[in-house]
Each structure stands twice: as structure tokens, then as C-alpha cells.
Assembly symmetry: C2
Homo-oligomer: 449 residues x 2
């Protein structure tokens, strides 16, 4: 069985919005090992929508449509799907009641335009939307005849129409669509054996894609797992995928691959699955009962923001200072004015004083500090744009400080600096070397550092 | 003339990565008023790639391909394009030299696999990539015969193959591809009159999509401009698009529409074009020679991070404190321990003391403070998850404080709180009322508050 994703909206075709819905749908389809060979986006144009629906009905078993269910004139998915497959539109009273209740709950009057959201093609299976006004629906359609030479698959195609709002889509996929697809697949396979697929995701920081491929290339070719790479600055992700007759067997293959990867590249792997650098750092701090405070200049609050993005972070994050001005470095962190005067704010002496000062003032176990020139302005021949000093003050050992020159734009400079700082906290706790990304001076197709 | 975008990569089809390249390409095509009716994504699979290339060559004039130019085995765009259209692969010595020079510059040895990035289909127009190892290329192909009943456009199709790395793609589109498309369009039109399209983008905060549509609906129907909506939490964007015979005429229509919109919804429009809330706040502060300091609890550094994301922000942002613990609120901001004891950290008295304390300690004109319960834990019957207090301390008037209950998840709670805080600073400077988004208690399809 295969699946196709169709997203609808002028805003997608004009590039006004990045279409993340296809990714959210596709990753969920993987849970059923559903092959997604076609992804198509079309304008809010009935002819183009009709054409995409017809083509999908011929070549795909499951067609996941997102967008065009809203109350405005541009939202035509329901009407066009109905017309394309010769269905009448029918009012679904429970949906109308739900939409009315939704507006009552938020204390607003329901607009007339919202009424149309309670109409569905006849014989549709309505998919409720507990967090929005647009219910989705599913219809099963006979495959319409293809053009000569075009493949038409046997059987029926099942369409799922879902809202374009990401969190409504996510919930509808998880609670309504994925279970229905699972039931359908079970029905079709009728108990016959079926391959299962299992995957893991390993997050790495500090090693470039080609180095990773050189280190792990033979593992990729052992035939037991397929090893995918993905870059999302400043990290690289590894995705071992295993197929087997049973879940247990596939999981064993994955576990073996993960062990082998960790043996090869060790501490470069910082997390698995949905773990982020900040969640891993937080978990390690919480496990050890340790606390942290931040003193940020060039990162401007990014490290604190990331640490506090994790629920429960108040257990280990005491707070921080964003010392953007020299006066703030002195008044709020105790960096001697004479040090800033003689060495400058972007210097080893200043960043050490920041890390030690914030640790002392907040009474934390760790103090992490950044001071650099993220650009685009502010560089000098001695201190070029891209220069950054990072320091980590701890209870038991001397403060560690190091400088880097990251030749990337302002936004990436800040993100990269924050990632090195967080990685140092992690490395310090697990007894790993506080290394920086030595290859950071370069760009390069497809390869984050 | 029309355009088609094809993005290539297993990682896209599996949902491991969000494909932002289609949006970056599409928005640039708009500059030439190029209609982008088809967007397709395919696996790293030669048969699927070939099928997509053939179909595109029949129905589209410009085909913009992204991905598959890297050095790894999965990268097959060049080979498959060559085979599909019957071209030999030829070494392009200047590209090989450029790739070698790239690796020399970053002090690394060139891997053998990078050599293949210097091969291109015969007669290709090589597009240089100054910031990566993968050059792009362009080829003009004869349209292959379609299947019966399928439309085949007259003339030739022009393919542009570009890297998938976003910043390399952006630069290649801007410097190489867009000018070539422009030249081609000029050549084809041969000086004949041609419609131009101009668009504006207005960022709004604080009014829901359906209210916006109710307020502006008649403007949308006056026929002079097309008015698009787009939601990106917590903002709504308005996009008037005008078509006319000349740029001047289209610009005049746009200017008229923007004036009409601003007359209707006033201060709800906070910016135009690429302006962000933080860039607008920064510009207003810089224009007036005013400074700001931040005292953040629940937003955890997000406000400081956003303010400092703007180049040149050191002119007006003095710094901030992230006071995540009660001790930090007292020690770093001077919030009396007795106030926290009696009223709690999430209270009007505490947040006022935070705003006034940070303003005093940093010596800034404005002090902005947040304290709330972003969740998922930490709520009580009196102070539920979602409650937040925001305060703005200024030089000339009493500190303004207000509480909200934002019933959204942790991440959205933080983002929404930061946006209200930044909007208050903006509103304070332009003499607008410090209102909060009164409709924030709701969710709803397609409508941010």
C-alpha cells in the first residue's frame, strides 16, 4: 500500500509560508511503514485541486490532504472533493453543534461562514477536531479511469481531509487518521505476515557530515540497517532504519546499530529520539542535583531561553544575566571595569570573570559565559567578526575558557556558540573533553560542522 | 510562462526534515510574476526522479530542482537529469579547481567523492557556488512527447539544478538563477508589454483572522488588489497583491491598499515587509535614543534573545536578568523577599518590582518584566497554568501591569507573552493603548489571535 500527501494553499505556492505539514504527515506514515512516493502542492484553484485529487485516486491507496477546510472563500477542499467524486454535500448536525459550542466556549459569536464547516460529502466519515472549528473527514472513492498508459491501481483510494493548522493536523493525524489507516491495513493484510519497520534518531554535534560518513560508512553497508543522514545546523542526525518480520527483531537490529555507532563516535552523539541538547543537559543536571546560571553577551539570552524551554527546568536553572553593555558586565556580574578597559569585553579575562561572577552571584554549581562578535558589524583586525570566547566555571576544577572564530552569519554564530556552551556543560558532567568544533571555519554543501 | 519546483530527498518524503526550499524558491519566482502551479517532491530514486523530470519538461517552462547535488551516493540529480535528457557527463575543470580551492581554504583534504561534483551534463551552464562545494547548473531541454491526452507545451523547458542547503540555494537563486530567468523572459517577450505584479506584507498582532476578514472584507473585494491572509502564531499577516501594466501603477495600488488597511485597523499593524516585532521595537528605540532592560521569569530569556537578534541592538538594549528562582528575583532585581513570600512570584506586586528593579539596576529608560506559569506543571486553583503577569516600567508614567490567562502550550505561552511584552514597548512609544490580546483564550482553525 502507498500514500500520497496533497497540501493546498496559494500561500504555499507563493512561498509565503513554509509547508511543514507534509513532514508532519510523512513521519507519522512511517509508523505504518507506508511508502510515501508522492507529495504534491496545489493552489486554491478548483481545477488544479481536482486534477491532483484524480491523479492521486489512481496511483495511491491513502491520500492525505491538508488545508482548505477553513471558513473563508478560499477554502474549497470539501466542495472540490465532493464534486470530483460525485458526492452531494450534507449537513452534519453534530459538527454544527460542536462548532457552535466552540464559539460559545470562547465567548464569541459564530460567523455565518463557519456554518459551511459542518457540511461534508455524503457517506463521509467525520473526523472531529477538539481544538479548532474545522472537522476533517474521510471518504473512500472508486479509482477513476486513468489516461492511456497511466497506471491505475486496483481497489479503492481513501482520502483524509484535514485542517492546515499544524497543531490541529497533528492531533487529527494521531487520534483519528493513523488508527484508521492501521485498521485498514490490518483488514487488507487479513493477518498475513507483514514487514515491520523500526527506526532510531541519534543527534550528534561537532563532527561534519563527510567525517561521519567516513567513520560510519561500513556500518551503512552491512545490510542490516539503512543509515540515513540529516543536517540541521549546527547538528547532524543519524537515522538507522531496520526492517524485519517482527518488532522484536527490528528493534534488536536497531539496538545493535546504535551501539556500534556510539562505539565509533562516542560523545559526539548527544541524544536520541526527541532529545535536544537542552533537554539532555537538563536531564544530566537534574540526575546529579546540580544547578546552572548563565552570563550571556553575544548569545543575548539564547542559552537561558533554550534551557528554560524544557518543562521542569526551574529545578536546575537558577537564572542568568544578559550583560550586553560593559556597565552591566561590571554591575551585574562583577567583571572588573579595569579588565574590560585593558582587555576588552571580548577577551579571555572578561569571559572568565563573567562565568565565575554569575556562578557566585546565583550560587550555582556551574556558570557558563559567552562574549563574542556575532556581526555583521563590530569587528576589528585583532578581533574579527566571528570571534567568540566561551567559559565554563565549575565547583571542582579551574574555569575552562576557549576562543573560536565562527565564520557564519549573526544568527548561526549565536546558535553555534550556544550549542558549544551547552555541549560543554554536558561534556563536563560525563567527564568528556571540553572540545570545540574544530571544523567550524567552513561552509560546505550538505555538511554542518 | 510557468514554473515548477521539484525537491529531491528521502529525508523529505520521510518527514525527517521540513522542506523550506520550495517556499524560498517560490517567493523569488514571484518577483518575475512567474506562476508556480506545480510543486513536487520525490525520493532519491532514479525512476521517480526521471518521471518527475519528464512530466515537468512537458508542462512547465522553468523547472527549479533542489537537492541531490552533494558528494554522497544518494545524490543523483546530475546523473539522472543527464540520462533522462540523453546528455553525456563531462568534467568541468574550473569547477574542479574551485572545489579543490574550497578544501584548501578550509585546511582539509578533498575526499574522492567530491570530485563527482565537478561533472555536468554536456552543454550545461554551470552556476557557481561561492559558499559550498556543489556548483549548480542549467540545461535547456526539448520537451519529450507526453502520453496521449497530456498537455505538452511548445518550445523548450529550462532546468536549474541547485543545492539543497538553504543558504547556498538562496544565494544561487538570487545571483544566478533569477537573473537568468529574467533574461529569458525578456528575450521571449521581445519587448512586448507584460503585466507586473507587486506585493506588500503587513504584520499584525492582537486581532484574530476572522475579525481581520470582517474588518477588511470589502477592501478585498474592490478588485484593485487581492488581499491574502497568513497566520504564523502569534501573528497574522496581510498580503495585498496588485497587478498592473507598470511598476508605478502597481505600486500606487499597493500604497493605496496599505493606507486603507492602516486606517481601518491602526496600531494592530506593527510592521511591513521583513520587519519583525523586535526589529520595529529596536528601530523605535534607536530613533528616540531610548534604552531597555528585561527582567524575565517565565519567558526565560526569550525577550532578550529576540531583541539581541537584531544587528546593532547594543545601541538600545542594555541587558537583562533571567530570574528563574525567587532568590534571583531578590538578589538580582531587588524584589523584596517579603513580597514574594506574601504575594507569590507570579503576582502583580512581584512583576512590578521586577520591571522597576531592572530599569533601575541597568539605568534604562524602559524596564519590561514577565512572570507566569507556562506549564505544563506548576498551576494551582488560584493561579492556573497559563496565568502570566506582564509589567512595563517607564521614566514618565506609572508602571503598567496586567495579567492574562493564555490557554496554550508551554512554547506558545512563552512566545505569546514575549510578543505582548514587546508590543507594549512599541505601543508605549507611539502613544497607543497598552492593550493585550483579549481573544487569546481560544484556539481555532486558521486563526491566531
Amino acid at each position: 500500500m502507498n500514500a500520497e500527501i496533497i497540501t493546498i494553499g496559494d500561500e504555499l505556492m507563493r512561498g509565503e509560508i513554509v509547508d511543514s505539514n507534509k513532514a508532519r504527515i510523512a513521519e507519522r506514515l512511517l509508523l505504518h511503514d507506508l511508502d510515501c512516493r508522492h507529495q504534491v502542492s496545489v493552489l486554491d484553484d478548483p481545477a488544479d485541486m481536482r486534477d491532483a485529487f484524480l491523479r492521486a485516486s489512481r496511483r495511491s491507496d491513502f491520500v492525505l490532504v491538508s488545508g482548505g477546510l477553513g471558513p473563508t472563500r478560499d477554502d474549497m477542499t470539501t466542495e472540490v472533493l465532493s464534486e470530483t467524486f460525485g458526492r452531494k454535500l450534507e449537513l452534519h448536525p453534530p459538527s454544527l453543534a460542536a462548532i457552535e459550542a466552540f464559539f460559545a466556549r470562547i465567548g464569541r459569536e459564530m460567523a455565518d461562514t463557519n456554518r459551511k464547516q459542518a457540511f461534508f460529502p455524503e457517506d463521509a466519515d467525520v473526523l472531529e477536531n477538539p481544538i479548532g472549528t474545522a472537522p476533517g473527514f474521510s471518504i473512500e472513492v472508486a479509482r477513476s479511469g486513468g489516461r492511456e498508459g497511466e497506471e491505475t491501481r486496483p481497489g479503492h483510494a481513501v482520502f483524509f481531509a484535514m485542517p492546515g493548522v499544524p497543531r490541529e493536523l497533528d492531533r487529527m493525524m494521531d487520534e483519528q487518521v493513523i488508527p484508521r489507516i492501521g485498521a485498514r491495513l490490518a483488514e487488507v493484510s487479513g493477518g498475513r505476515e507483514k514487514q515491520v519497520v523500526r527506526a532510531a534518531l541519534l543527534a550528534t554535534f561537532g563532527m561534519g557530515e563527510s567525517t561521519l560518513e567516513a567513520e560510519l560508512g561500513d556500518l551503512m553497508r552491512d545490510g542490516n540497517v539503512e543509515l540515513g543522514f540529516r543536517t540541521s545546523f549546527p547538528d547532524n542526525f543519524l537515522r538507522p532504519v531496520a526492517r524485519a518480520a517482527t518488532i522484536e527483531e527490528a528493534d534488536a537490529k536497531i539496538a545493535e546499530a546504535v551501539t556500534a555507532i556510539r562505539e565509533r563516535i562516542g560523545d559526539v552523539v548527544y541524544g536520541e529520539g526527541t532529545e535536544t541538547m537542552e533537554s539532555v543537559v537538563g536531564q544530566e543536571l537534574a540526575n546529579r542535583g546540580l544547578t546552572i546560571a548563565t552570563a550571556e553577551s553575544c548569545t543575548g539570552g539564547l542559552i537561558a531561553e533554550r534551557l528554560t524551554d524544557v518543562p521542569g527546568s526551574s529545578a536546575y536553572f537558577l537564572g542568568g544575566v544578559v550583560s550586553y553593555s560593559n556597565e552591566a558586565k561590571t554591575a551585574m556580574l562583577g567583571v572588573p571595569a579595569a579588565v574590560i578597559e585593558s582587555e576588552g569585553a571580548v577577551s579571555e579575562a572578561s569571559v572568565r570573570a563573567m562565568a565565575e561572577g554569575v556562578r557566585e552571584r546565583f550560587g550555582s554549581d556551574f556558570g557558563i559565559a559567552t562574549s563574542g562578535i556575532s556581526g555583521p558589524g563590530g569587528g576589528t583586525p585583532e578581533k574579527p567578526v566571528g570571534l567568540v570566547w566561551i567559559a565554563l566555571a565549575t565547583a571542582d576544577s579551574a574555569t575552562h575558557a576557549q576562543s573560536f572564530v565562527f565564520e557564519v552569519d549573526r544568527s548561526r554564530h549565536r546558535r553555534l556558540t550556544a550549542q558549544v556552551a551547552l555541549d560543554w556543560i554536558r561534556r563536563s558532567m560525563i567527564g568528556a573533553e571540553l572540545i570545540g568544533p574544530s571544523l567550524m571555519r567552513r561552509g560546505g554543501s550538505g555538511s554542518a560542522p
